[in-house]
Symmetry: D2
Subunit: 364 residues, 4 copies
Amino acid sequence: MPPNSFGHLLTITTFGESHGPAIGCVIDGFPPGMEITAEEIRTELMRRATGQSRWTSQRKEAEEVQILSGTFEGRTTGTPIALVIHNTDARSKDYSKIAAQFRPGHADYTYHHKYGIRDYRGGGRSSARETAMRVAAGALARKWLNEKAGITITGWLAQIGELVCDEHFDESVIDTSPFFCPDASMIGPLEDYMKKLWKSGDSVGALVRARAVGVPVGLGAPVYAKLDGDLAAAMMSINATKGVEIGAGFGSVAQRGTEHRDEITPEGFESNHAGGVLGGISTGQPVEVAVAFKPTSSLRLPGKTVDTSGQPVEIVTTGRHDPCVGIRAVPIVEAMLALVIMDHWLLHRAQCGDVEEQTPRIPG
Amino acid sequence: MPPNSFGHLLTITTFGESHGPAIGCVIDGFPPGMEITAEEIRTELMRRATGQSRWTSQRKEAEEVQILSGTFEGRTTGTPIALVIHNTDARSKDYSKIAAQFRPGHADYTYHHKYGIRDYRGGGRSSARETAMRVAAGALARKWLNEKAGITITGWLAQIGELVCDEHFDESVIDTSPFFCPDASMIGPLEDYMKKLWKSGDSVGALVRARAVGVPVGLGAPVYAKLDGDLAAAMMSINATKGVEIGAGFGSVAQRGTEHRDEITPEGFESNHAGGVLGGISTGQPVEVAVAFKPTSSLRLPGKTVDTSGQPVEIVTTGRHDPCVGIRAVPIVEAMLALVIMDHWLLHRAQCGDVEEQTPRIPG
Amino acid sequence: MPPNSFGHLLTITTFGESHGPAIGCVIDGFPPGMEITAEEIRTELMRRATGQSRWTSQRKEAEEVQILSGTFEGRTTGTPIALVIHNTDARSKDYSKIAAQFRPGHADYTYHHKYGIRDYRGGGRSSARETAMRVAAGALARKWLNEKAGITITGWLAQIGELVCDEHFDESVIDTSPFFCPDASMIGPLEDYMKKLWKSGDSVGALVRARAVGVPVGLGAPVYAKLDGDLAAAMMSINATKGVEIGAGFGSVAQRGTEHRDEITPEGFESNHAGGVLGGISTGQPVEVAVAFKPTSSLRLPGKTVDTSGQPVEIVTTGRHDPCVGIRAVPIVEAMLALVIMDHWLLHRAQCGDVEEQTPRIPG
Amino acid sequence: MPPNSFGHLLTITTFGESHGPAIGCVIDGFPPGMEITAEEIRTELMRRATGQSRWTSQRKEAEEVQILSGTFEGRTTGTPIALVIHNTDARSKDYSKIAAQFRPGHADYTYHHKYGIRDYRGGGRSSARETAMRVAAGALARKWLNEKAGITITGWLAQIGELVCDEHFDESVIDTSPFFCPDASMIGPLEDYMKKLWKSGDSVGALVRARAVGVPVGLGAPVYAKLDGDLAAAMMSINATKGVEIGAGFGSVAQRGTEHRDEITPEGFESNHAGGVLGGISTGQPVEVAVAFKPTSSLRLPGKTVDTSGQPVEIVTTGRHDPCVGIRAVPIVEAMLALVIMDHWLLHRAQCGDVEEQTPRIPG
């Protein structure tokens, strides 16, 4: 698999740098016959878009996604679907400083040493701008999963810094604020929190949760194409991710077996510590994942680093930057969850026939 | 990539069921010329081996690994290295109960519904027995990394249940107990803890940490073959894993950017919250990973489940089972870490030439 | 994909050297529920087996294939099927000469320079012995294709040296002679031809043809997973292959478009110059492939070569060797044809749903 | 590997339909640091371009290739290189006839039945227009091979219909005519031949040969990533290909072993029936491949077919079409040869270290 491609059968290949001419992706293996429009993809992109609120990066991208191939008369044809967004808001600012210095917490240092050359403008290939294409591809996967099987994918901000914000979960609240927060009572405190953070010049980490409801039993495969293994790879490949959990996650460490094992009755599972996956295969319960995002490393508070000749310098990152990259990661996590589940649906259908033909299952 | 294969260029393909005739693996892409013996592999296997202590499963496997191909006069030839271990201790006990019932927390339910048929004896393909082949393959990778670049891989038990056991870290202590515990003062408490657990009939989760020291800057690739993305997939594919962290991991959520970003001086990085990976590429610092293991689901304490016809039953799992599968996962985590790093070494060499030829780097 | 693996979804990974402990393969992605026995596989292996007639190599292998995994109570389970054959007839002869000399027309020279080390005994990994595992895996694919869809695969010897032997084609004749010759009147001439060849000490090339009947329209995929592209790769990977044709093949060069294009009527195609593939996708007509095999390079007639130190030497290859490797290639070509078609069946089912659900087609 | 991607480590993923908005490709795994310009790529594209002569298709494409990513300040960065060509000359003619009828010899019939939907304009994804992106990607590979190792790739028209045109081979003549003919004395006859063909309304097949000179010994890998296996796949994936040969090819069938085996002296190989490949690995001799192209199926001479409802119709294909697609296939064959060799160079470097470090070899 090329290093810029993801998936077994539903594959996405992304390309593009933050300040290059364009970013784009090629989606291969998508089933024929589904209606899609650029507008639908754009709607999903806007959820993630930079510039959506004053709490996230101020870069304004039109997000004018173009469908270059793979559709005919508005429907997918089974051939590769290429999407492209031209970079229209890449300011021609002075990059001479960033060119010669390694921003702490960034990929500057590692790209420089790996390749000996790097497009330093806006982080180049390591920019979170790449994730727009995941969201674009994910929009198609979400639609297919929904039409094919009524599967729904929902992500939300669960915590930011010390502030837990999904204690009272109400799915209908999520899209009412730019924070993807599922608790109406937390939106005020979140605004205060972000204001203070912004003033301080510092940034903070975040915890994003997502779940897929309606996933049939049987998706996933032993032992290196486990559903949870693929989810871990998918999530960890998102910029700034430092941790991935399925179900009870790290909480499992302190659990007893009698607590963790989800007992089964004729009515279904009695709990879901497994997060919807046993032995790498979906159980029919909601597939649940949590992803930890580190705080933004681009800060206007000065930090120590070295330049490309190894000399010590103090660095200050000006420009447009989210104080919490985790917030706008919510649609990205959703997209990756959708892509992995759809990929495994196809993989399952290849080996075992369509899901509907499977042996009946107890209620999930 | 076949679902039972792992890796980009250094690939392992494993096969075999817990109580089938044999388990084995095929290692492809291994460089020619390295000396290997079955004895070396066996030594590594014994660290993981069941039956090693009274705290882990009592199944005794001779672990007589055979090298079926890929070597000549004791050295690797560049062709596929096949390893096999015949299952000699697969007791012919009565499996009629387990055949008809789904053990909670096990893959019984998902395999049954996915495939419509399953080898239920000892968990079949979903048994942790498969991980022996990861350790076997990892033994070769560890040796190669060490000979080629002085890279060393160390794993340890960091927590079991509520008991943190790596507060006082001493690497030399790790192999002195069957717990892979790096703190001499914790071995006594661990023994007490396990005794009580054993008596109670319950099980508990564990946290395993591992790190690779000596990894050069530059291993990894944007954006779906990130070093940390591959590590997440590798670790999550191990039985009973529910979470993976790189560096600060979930601790990043509550960190500030000024705290998390690892500042750089001419002497090197001042901290390692990144866990040795920035932008998916190694920084030259130790690569650090943490893995959460759920408690063993096989318990002699009765639990609710259904049988294959959907009727409710009470299940008691007798037989040989670790009360904490996380303990013997330590060598497995080490093996997967070694395999991922070596794989990325080869991948880097393919695209960028050998590591030694890279631009000089500041001290890691 | 590992270099010793083949296929998209139905993958085979082979291992083993001619005179090592064993050869084997791992078949991954095979659907669950099909009955298989080692005996069935053995039957197919015997067709290819060396020692079958006085015209092919005299090495006698018991071909006692063992199924190590992936089946339960005689049926496939969906997990990797590992097959192994232990090398029982690897004579411990003196290999000192072959170790130091490069046999012309063999992989000795290239393996030596690529890897710096090689298992020279019997050709090591480059031995045609590897193809036994293709035939073993192919046996399962043939059975599945036949049970699932009534697809039948037939191969035959079409030419040996100058002797065309399929002018009068009668499928029922093929398995009546050790030559896989479909023309009863040619079996006598073939025997005379081989006798003379044997006496002369020389060897000769061969042309093998194969076809799959009953393949539904729609298998294959643009543009690098074309059915014919995969067939070409499959056939060219067989030892001693120098050419592959689909349908009219090289005959197309001198054809006119009006002759080559297969016209269509409501009753079906009027000809099959396409060989059952248009645009990389099956037409529903028989899939037809032809494969050219070079003459055996191991000859008792002396030839010029150099030794590993570059000095000129005269080489004579004694030992057991087919004067025409193409003959026993027939079952191998059949096996590769079956594997490719089944792989594409699964690939098609993944993206487009099962074949039966497709739009009705005109008669093939 | 996605079905629209090719290669192990140097991968190309192509997208686009003949009359869609654009065609393009993503090249992943390319080494960093090589200078490239859109102009260089365009030069190579013009060799293949439709509209180049009156003997090839009259469609005029500006072939204005754009580099969307993967370069910085004119050099490759190691990240994915995306190339795109917008379709400017896609005439909005009336496609209603072609929409409802299956052109014999075309992918119309197979795409329709596989996907249930197809972009019929100009053949959609099955159009040879896709091969422009192979040539574009091949331009980069050729440059890298040349700069890195002095490897040169040359293709030519060897036969068209009955007319053999490389009996007197002079490489310098190839690019002097639009026929890629290496024999100056054949250019006149070729023109006459094409005139008559054009007048007749019929089309004809062609044989294209290509070779790579300067390939070091050691590229390729057992047993499913053989250099010749990958070449066969590469060539057979080109539109209209019906056969592939390496070295002596189908001529091997009638050869004796004493003739075919290339004897070795301290000065090198005495012949090259192997075509530069033994056991799937390059010998250091020129790598030689021949590819058979079928005659164009789009003819203004009427042919029998059915429409999508199965009714018989007579079809006449008007529009711009080469009477011999094989001619402009020459640069495509060269491109695929370059891509395969460079891919194997990287693959070799990954496993065995750089080519220069290999054991010395006898003259090739």
